[in-house]
């Protein structure tokens, strides 16, 4: 007889909330009446994610391994779950915005209709809205929350797939420029499938080397390994490749600009913020818990790709003329900065390192600013949907000062100017890295920040110092959801810059892995 594993339902509450909401969403999709399906779906998805947020906040301080040792509910897991749930709820609000697009939604009414066909043109003017995105997104959020709590590699892989598959789908569902969107989805899917394969192969090698997929067992095996751990190191390298792909770290970033550009902007916001948090959560857990004792195996590798990512992100970002692509490269550069924090491992007093708390804070700050910046992008539109070409933004500061001011704030935060959340985050990760003696990396990071600052500034220059173009875009009046998102993200960006003490403290306290 097989014994059922012990389940601590309380500790799993955040996951249960979100996955429960996703399942309810599927049922609503199947049985709910069409006319009020949108409202119900939004309500269900928000209830699920906010429930996940609240329950994970209630779990603060929890440290246990549950579900047959498959899940770790510890400080980092809970902190990151709360972050993902919160950012996910904000993204869902952006999904739910109906007053900006004349067609009432950013998503295509029927994704299966071929782009450009007569039926497609017909649907373009029909006020029918897509509601499948809500359960799909909720599933993705659940997958991300599972990802950061996975205590064995197989659960981690399952979570990776749960979070990825819905993402591939929803990035192909843009209402406008459908071909671009579908191309993005296919690209993302193909490259993502490769990354999953890498991860799976790495998993197999690690299992071969250590005889277990449990992180704590791998840790012991890695510590005991003397000399010929080739299999283990190879496995680790492949696992890292898989994870770096999700985190859009160069040189595994090739999909990022295309997908960011092609996906509907709310989806881009969701991907940029939540996927990054989840991927880094998994990277931190994998490296710190499973390979924390054999730092030498991953340190040089990470060092190298951190530098590559920062340089590629900053330099290629300079040449972009499309805001969404520019932000994609910015996200690649930020992934490099985050790796700087990851490399601050072992600098803290109890060996876990200040890098963990710093990276988690950075993820939160970056996620909020990113959602904010994409929320602003959804507002600025012309006849063809969102006006994301840089030149369209000329003189925006004169025409809509509030929108431009919010954008400028987010850009300054992404550039890491003091008194914004971005600076606090950067300072935290750089301090962790220098603490650990990685000062050459920090010098590179600082130079990359300076280069990246140029392209953020360029947008501010355009918005404020250029004359408005005659046929410029219009700035939509946001409905309640987007207004709410902007209010939250602006406030958070300022507060985390001016008075970050409390949240930093929270991140620092949460920064202890179990197992």
């Amino acid at each position: 007889m097989i014994e059922a594993p012990t389940l601590s339902l309380a500790a799993l509450a955040p996951l249960l909330c979100v996955f429960g909401a996703a399942c309810v969403g599927v049922l609503v999709e199947a049985f709910g009446p069409r006319e009020n399906r949108h409202a119900v779906q939004v309500a269900v998805a928000l209830a699920g994610t906010l429930g996940g947020l609240v329950t994970s906040l209630l779990l603060a301080g929890e440290r246990q391994i549950t579900a047959g040792e498959a899940l770790a509910v510890d400080g980092p897991a809970v902190f990151l779950q709360a972050t993902i749930a919160g950012l996910g709820a904000l993204s869902l609000l952006l999904f739910a915005e109906r007053s900006l697009d004349p067609a009432r939604s950013a998503f295509v009414a029927a994704a299966a209709v071929p782009a450009g066909s007569p039926r497609d043109r017909e649907l373009l003017t029909v006020p029918r809205v897509q509601t499948e995105v809500y359960p799909l997104t909720t599933f993705a959020i659940g997958g991300m929350m599972l990802f950061v709590a996975a205590n064995d590699l197989l659960v981690m892989f399952v979570a990776l797939e749960v979070l990825s598959l819905p993402l591939y789908l929803i990035s192909g569902m843009a209402r406008r420029r459908r071909l671009l969107s579908q191309e993005a989805a296919v690209k993302y899917f193909l490259l993502g499938a490769f990354a999953s394969a890498f991860f799976l192969y790495g998993l197999a090698l690690v299992y071969g080397a250590t005889g277990s997929i449990r992180l704590s067992v791998i840790r012991e095996a890695a510590a005991a390994e003397t000399g010929g751990g080739l299999l283990l190191v190879l496995g680790l390298a492949l696992l890292i490749v898989g994870l770096m792909f999700k985190a859009s770290v160069a040189p595994f970033h090739a999909w990022t600009p295309d997908v960011y550009q092609g996906a509907p902007t709310p989806v881009t916001a969701f991907m940029a913020a939540c996927t990054k948090v989840a991927a880094f959560g998994a990277i931190l857990r994998l490296l710190y818990v499973a390979f924390g004792t054999s730092e030498w195996t991953w340190r040089p590798l990470l060092y190298g790709i951190a530098i590559v990512s920062m340089v590629v992100g900053a330099v290629l970002g300079l040449t972009q003329t499309d805001l969404k692509r520019m932000l994609a490269y910015s996200s690649i550069a930020h992934a490099g900065f985050l790796l700087t924090g990851v490399l601050g491992y072992g600098s803290g007093p109890d060996g876990t390192g200040s890098g963990l708390g710093a990276t988690m804070f950075y993820l939160l700050a970056y996620g909020l600013a990113t959602i904010g910046v994409f929320a602003v992008l959804t507002l600025v539109r012309d006849g063809d949907g969102e006006a994301t070409h840089l030149s369209k933004w000329a003189g925006l500061g004169r025409r809509s000062p509030l929108t431009a001011a919010a954008m400028a704030l987010f850009l300054l935060a992404l550039a890491g100017i003091p008194l914004t959340s971005g600076f606090t985050g950067k300072f935290a990760v750089f301090r962790a890295a220098i603490d650990d003696g990685a000062w050459p990396l920090v010098v590179v990071a600082l130079l990359a920040s300076a280069v990246a600052a140029f392209f953020y500034l360029r947008v501010i220059v355009l918005m404020y110092f250029s004359e408005p173009a005659a046929d410029g875009p219009t700035v939509g009046v946001p409905g309640l959801p987007t207004t709410l998102v902007l209010a939250v993200t602006v406030t958070a960006t300022v507060v985390l810059g001016v008075l970050p003490g409390a949240v930093l403290d929270l991140a620092e306290q949460a920064a202890r892995f179990v197992g």
């Binding site: 008194l419 300076a450 600052a453 403290d505």
Partner: protein, 545 residues
């Protein structure tokens, strides 16, 4: 009364004022001006009262306030001033109202509102006070970087034709410097954590720690690069002429008058006391940059045809003098350097203001577009002359005292550098007098001519000296040339009068200022381990003995 948080008030009042001005409804530019003037006068009052509350014989840092800010980083919101910082606060207090008044009639380009201009100005004032008042290195860094944002918008939104380029260049140069400093700030924190067991950013605690010489050099360089860009010393200076030329006059005055002083202030406050060994070892190299700056910038100044660029280059030369005074490591020279920082703010500030008044009349920045202004506008010419003479350090003006102190203070330790720098004084006389002569005296010519249409020569629009010269040659044949130029208005007089008064007053009686900064300078010299037994500086301005 001494418990009153003067410094906090000086930061909070303009910040709140800026928010208030920004929140005014559209089109209320008049109210914005009055509010900005009122707020800046309150700050001046606070600065004066703080000076009264400051005890020159007391502790090094006074009027201190400290509250924990980010406990996780060990950062306190710690404010406090020594004599050096206090005189800079006084300078800010004086310059901002003057600048507000000088910008009173500025017409915004495009449809921009002057409301935003005054809001940014006040926010800048708040950050500038913070930079000088911070006694926590992290806090200093935050203000140091935050200061860029208002200045960036002042240049970019309200500047001249190439303002976009200038604004971005200004921001990027400063940001790069700042980021390098950030690395050093973090490095310093880590060193302090190893040394004291717990990391700290408090200036007083950091001053006491011993740092390994190699590390010291690296950290010194980190800070130095940021300050050398800000100051600016010669190879890092190319942003200043662009920013100075494109910034609106008010912004330019604060840029060279105060913002750039953060660089020299940083040398004194952070580089020397925190890294004494490195400072001593690297001083010769810094002095090379300083003296090169004095000579090179003076030569470039002479070659300028744009008045605002010219004034910017004179500033670079003056910053060379200040750096010379600081890195000569004698009490006299350093006292001179601190006085120089104040005096340069006033003298060059006035020079920028008067050039701005001239540009407001003629609409051109080219020297060749003006001539013979003095006959029609004697007051304007007079103020120009006073500002110019103060810039070339004529005895009796404030700059003479400081320049003289720097030179006699540096000579005993650094004779060669001092002698070379002295050549700069001669060059200064040349570039100042040349521009004065060409614009104020000689036959009337240029854009202000009353009857440009009647002259047979091509219209002397924005052209250089050549067209204007042809115009003057032909002018007498056509009609008796007259300039259409108004003399200073009462408002402009109110702008210039306090500055002229300060130039003369500090030139004749600099003693109070010297007494204010002397203890802080002596403390810095003992930190750096220089021979503090320098000769007690006397006021060489004459009239005091």
């Amino acid at each position: 009364m001494s418990d009153f948080p003067w410094l906090l008030a000086m930061i909070a009042v303009p910040a709140v004022g800026a928010a208030g001005v920004a929140a005014l409804p559209k089109g209320r530019d008049g109210t914005a001006k009055q509010a900005a003037l009122g707020v800046s006068l309150v700050v001046l009052l606070l600065a004066v009262l703080a000076t009264v509350a400051f005890d020159t014989g007391g502790e090094r840092f006074q009027l201190t306030t400290s509250v924990p800010w980010i406990p996780d980083f060990g950062v306190d919101f710690a404010l406090g001033v020594d004599g050096i910082a206090l005189v800079m606060l006084l300078l800010i207090g004086v310059l901002v109202p003057v600048v507000v008044l000088a910008s009173w009639r500025d017409e915004p380009t495009g449809q921009r509102s002057m409301k935003a201009y005054f809001a940014w100005l006040l926010l800048l004032e708040s950050f500038m006070v913070g930079v000088f008042a911070a006694t926590d290195v992290f806090l200093f860094y935050v203000f140091f970087e935050a200061m860029l944002v208002p200045m960036y918008f002042l240049i970019g939104s309200f500047g001249g034709p190439r303002r976009q380029y200038a604004a971005v260049k200004f921001f990027l140069y400063s940001l790069v410097g700042g980021l390098v400093m950030l690395a050093a700030v973090i490095g310093l924190y880590v060193v302090s954590a190893n040394e004291l067991g717990e990391g700290t950013f408090a200036f007083d605690a950091l001053r006491g720690i011993e740092i390994d010489p190699g590390v010291q050099k690296l950290l010194f360089l980190g800070f130095f690069v940021a300050f050398a860009i800000k100051a600016p010393l010669v190879p890092f200076h190319t942003w200043l002429p662009d920013s100075g030329a494109e910034a609106p006059i008010g912004g330019a005055v604060l840029l060279v008058g105060v913002l750039d002083k953060v660089g020299t202030f940083g040398f004194l406050r952070y580089c020397l006391p925190l890294f004494p060994d490195a400072s001593r070892d690297l001083a010769p190299y810094v002095l090379v940059l300083a003296v090169a700056g004095v000579l090179y910038a003076a030569l470039l100044a002479m070659g300028q045809s744009d008045m605002k660029r010219l004034v910017s280059y004179t500033s670079i030369a003056h910053f060379g003098f200040i750096a010379l005074g600081i890195f000569a490591f004698t009490t006299e020279a350093t006292t001179g350097a601190v006085l120089y920082m104040v005096n340069h703010g006033i003298a060059t500030g006035l020079l920028f203001l008067v050039v701005g008044m001239l540009i407001a009349r003629g609409g051109s920045r080219q020297i060749g577009d003006y001539g013979g202004v003095a006959r029609q506008a004697p007051l304007l010419a007079g103020v120009f002359l006073v500002a110019g003479l103060a810039s070339l350090a004529l005895p009796g003006t404030n700059s003479f005292v400081s320049e003289f102190l720097v030179l006699i203070g540096s000579f005993p330790t650094r004779p060669v550098f001092t002698v070379l720098a002295t050549v700069g004084i001669v060059l200064a006389a040349l570039y100042v007098l040349l521009v004065y002569q060409r614009t104020m005296h000689g036959p009337p010519r240029g854009v202000l001519l009353e009857t440009p249409a009647e002259t047979p020569a091509p219209a002397p629009g924005g052209g250089g000296g050549a067209t204007a010269a042809t115009a003057t040659l032909d002018a007498p044949a056509a009609a008796p040339a007259r300039l259409r130029v108004a003399d200073l208005s009462p408002r402009e007089l109110a702008v210039a009068a306090p500055m002229v008064a300060l130039i003369i007053a500090l030139g004749v009686y600099p003693q109070p200022l010297i007494e204010l900064v002397e203890p802080a300078v002596a403390a810095t010299m003992s930190d750096v381990g220089a021979d503090p037994a320098g000769v007690e500086p006397e006021a060489p301005g004459g009239g005091t003995d």
